[in-house]
């Protein structure tokens, strides 16, 4: 028994009291109330139960678009923001080079930029004018000046994923570097003695031993990806993606905002939120299963 059992019987409860109060008022109460709201029609002054009607109302093309966009955005960001930061972290994981901490710091800086500022910069760099920097850099390669934001759906999705890549690569590198530091150096030395190539070491030593970190980063990326909204809000000026081509910027949280706040349909907004919750749970479980996370626990 390492810890001394508290002499004061009530002291521990006083210490954890802030969490209990905050949990009851700001997590449990809203969670229960949003579940109830999802079965209600909420109008000023009169609220009544309407059964599953809100959920039935969600069988509409906008909801499907929102789910599809959130899903695609999540898949694309994970496809970019896992492998690239892993490789960069492996390359930076060399204490022999003092410049590496400078590189790590520089790549981390975009994380400090708020989503509003980041979106503003993206809008200005990818402006529709032929003189705007991205268009003018591409024109020598025969690419016609594009309206990146509202011109077509793929370039709009490209901007969303590009913005996420710019902002989060540095954070993920930091996560993977801390994971790499837990891999014993002897394993690499042993592999070197056996004449293993760099690729062999990467795929047979580094990546398998980095798995817990990869699972962690993938999990938070699933949550972050499905909850994306602010990026769309900024790129398309508060239209909840409504101003984006083919509604490509309309995400599930954007749809909550559109219906719940702008449209005043709080019951419907709650129903969207609960479907989002179920999807996130299902995807996380599926993902953890794919990685064999639960199997490892059993062993």
């Amino acid at each position: 028994m390492r810890r001394s059992i508290g002499s004061g019987r009530f002291a521990p409860y006083l210490f954890v009291l802030p969490f209990i109060v905050s949990f009851l008022a700001f997590y449990l109460y809203p969670l229960v109330s949003t579940i109830i709201m999802s079965f209600q029609d909420i109008l000023p002054g009169q609220t009544h139960f309407i059964g599953l009607l809100n959920y039935q109302r969600l069988k509409n093309p906008f909801m499907y678009t929102a789910i599809w966009n959130s899903f695609r955005y999540t898949v694309f960001t994970i496809a970019v923001l896992i492998p690239i930061p892993v490789l960069l972290a492996v390359m930076l994981n060399n204490p022999g080079n003092p410049a590496n901490s400078v590189f790590r710091g520089a790549l981390f800086i975009p994380t400090l930029v708020s989503v509003v500022v980041a979106g503003t910069i993206i809008r200005l760099l990818f402006a529709a004018s032929p003189l705007a920097i991205v268009n003018s850099l591409l024109s020598p390669f025969g690419v016609k000046p594009m309206d990146w934001l509202v011109g077509n759906a793929s370039s709009a999705m490209f901007l969303l994923v590009g913005m996420a890549t710019w902002r989060w690569t540095g954070v993920n590198i930091v996560y993977f570097l801390s994971g790499l530091q837990n891999i014993p150096r002897e394993l690499y030395e042993a592999a070197s003695i056996d004449g293993a190539s760099a690729w062999y070491k990467l795929f047979r030593v580094t990546i398998p031993l980095l798995k817990p970190t990869i699972i962690f980063v993938t999990t938070i990326s699933v949550f972050g990806g499905f909850a994306m909204f602010e990026e769309s809000y900024i790129l398309w000026s508060g239209n909840s993606g409504g101003g984006s081509p083919n509604n490509v910027g309309l995400t599930m949280v954007g749809y909550i905002y559109l219906k719940g706040f702008q449209g005043g349909a709080m019951g419907l907004g709650s129903a969207i939120g609960l479907i989002l919750l179920l999807i996130v749970f299902a995807v996380s479980l599926l993902q953890l299963n794919l990685f064999g996370f639960f199997k490892r626990e059993e062993q």
């Binding site: 810890r3 997590y27 790549l107 990818f126």
Partner: protein, 283 residues
């Protein structure tokens, strides 16, 4: 020795060149933003950031003066609101989260397991789905458009609690026993002995908490209804319309919201990294 040394050196030079180019690419948008603040907003609305914008020429600090005078000093009001929220929210969050983390790290008591699982549950629910019921709650509590409405729901963060708990578990219990022998109360032991020992943990969480609070957007967007209550991100977002001369204020305001944070990052880089890797916080 030479034959072994040269290829290693060459790889290292190649890697360094690669990373220098990559870092320049990652820093380029911030460079572009800073230089854009020297250009007239009407040009930016029409052409975006152009090659001409990126050449440092005619750099004057007029934009800073204009920032604080346009729209009757609205930016100054947003800046003050943001500062106030960051300071109060971060201080309260440090106090409460460190207490809870300490309680969970030091004591054995009934219900501890339950509390730890509830914390995991909280982390599993995307906060975005709680925004609607919280909004209704604020209306019922008459706390819309107030500072407490912005701050209170998110002061106690399970991530920070876990971080403090991990840190406390690493501190030898001898200090606590010494405090008990000296006849200190449990609260006294925490505030007079343990809290000072947790300074590095406070540093890491202060930096990360302040950054999140400073950049927080969705919740302040919903709570704050009038211009005099806006935070910087909410205020800037209202300027993202292609009308009037809003872009002057938008760009210089963005620079002023970003550059101080980058300077702070360089001073406290170690704390940032420590906070991230142990606490597991994103965005």
């Amino acid at each position: 020795m030479r034959s072994l040394h040269t290829p290693v050196l060459r790889t290292q030079i190649l890697l360094s060149v690669f990373f220098i180019i990559l870092c320049l690419g990652f820093l380029f948008p911030i460079y572009a933003l800073v230089l854009a603040s020297f250009r007239p907003g009407r040009d930016l609305i029409r052409f975006g950031i152009t090659a001409k914008t990126l050449v440092p020429k005619d750099l004057t600090l007029d934009f800073l003066v204009n920032l604080f005078t346009t729209k009757n000093g609205a930016y100054l009001v947003w800046f003050r609101n943001s500062m106030f929220i960051v300071i109060v929210q971060t201080s309260l969050s440090l106090l409460f989260c460190s207490m809870v983390g300490y309680g969970l790290g030091i004591y054995e008591f009934r219900g501890k397991k339950l509390i730890l699982s509830l914390m995991l549950l909280v982390m599993m629910v995307p906060l975005q789905i709680l925004i609607l019921p919280l909004y209704r709650f604020l209306i019922a509590m008459k706390s819309m458009n107030t500072f407490q409405g912005i701050m209170f729901p998110f002061i106690v963060s399970p991530f920070a609690i876990f971080f403090f708990r991990q840190y406390v578990i690493g501190i030898p219990t001898d200090f606590i026993d010494a405090g008990r022998i000296d006849g200190l109360s449990e609260g006294g032991i925490y505030f007079r002995i343990m809290a000072p020992l947790m300074t590095p943990a406070f540093g890491a969480m202060a930096i990360l908490g302040a950054l999140q609070s400073w950049n927080n957007f969705l919740w302040p967007l919903i709570v704050m209804r009038t211009g005099n209550m806006f935070t910087i991100p909410v205020g800037l977002a209202t300027l993202l319309t292609p009308y009037g001369n809003n872009y002057d204020m938008l760009i210089s305001g963005s620079v002023m919201a970003t550059i101080p944070i980058i300077l702070i990052f360089f001073i406290f880089q170690r704390y940032f990294i420590a906070g991230l890797t142990t606490g597991g916080i994103k965005g």
